[in-house]
Amino acid sequence: DQQVKQNSPSLSVQEGRISILNCDYTNSMFDYFLWYKKYPAEGPTFLISISSIKDKNEDGRFTVFLNKSAKHLSLHIVPSQPGDSAVYFCATISNFGNEKLTFGTGTRLTIIP
């Protein structure tokens, strides 16, 4: 039972354009969402997060949008740079108190120079 879904396993975007990565979740009780970025042979690194009391959070080139009614969130990267090529995971905290994360399956983003 996949509670967090990333339906696009891969995405290719031209350098300088906008990258949009999508994530859907099933449990309306989730109320904190995170995006992680992972390079090969490294652990995931935190990118940006959003609480359910907001519908948008921005940090530099990265913006996360949350649509609670659709149980959907997206990560926008603009402008995309070659160093953004990585696997991106969305995640949600499923149990506040121990902050156990539930991850999606990931989207591999490739930025084409």
């Binding site: 652990g43 121990n98 994360l101 399956t105």
Partner: protein, 113 residues
């Protein structure tokens, strides 16, 4: 050290053998997590320590898996009678506590042949 250290980085073992994977968290971090990432999947929660005790071990797949953190710092994940299905990247993360976020190690890639 400055980050979460995991050793070994790679481990190849024969089916049926016993393995130990080590995690050295960031100094002073009280919370420690183990996750497992299989090919094409996102990381999946295994176990969470708060100090020396396992506060949540609900993600351990079966009784062949066990983890300890005897002094509240270094943790060891132990797998008995390894099976080919145990092949995955085992990730460790530590945190200073709720709302402080995780720092992941680079993982141990376990291959059972």
């Amino acid at each position: 050290g400055a980050g979460v250290s995991q050793t070994p980085s790679n481990k190849v073992t024969e089916k049926g053998k016993y393995v130990e994977l080590r995690c050295d968290p960031i100094s002073g971090h009280t919370a420690l997590y183990w996750y497992r990432q299989s090919l094409g999947q996102g990381p999946e929660f295994l176990i969470y320590f708060q100090g020396t005790g396992a506060a949540d071990d609900s993600g351990l797949p079966n009784d062949r898996f066990f983890a300890v953190r005897p002094e509240g710092s270094v943790s060891t994940l132990k797998i008995q009678r390894t099976e080919r299905g145990d092949s995955a990247v085992y990730l460790c993360a530590s945190s200073a506590g709720p709302n402080y976020g995780y720092t992941f190690g680079s993982g141990t890639r376990l291959t059972v042949v």
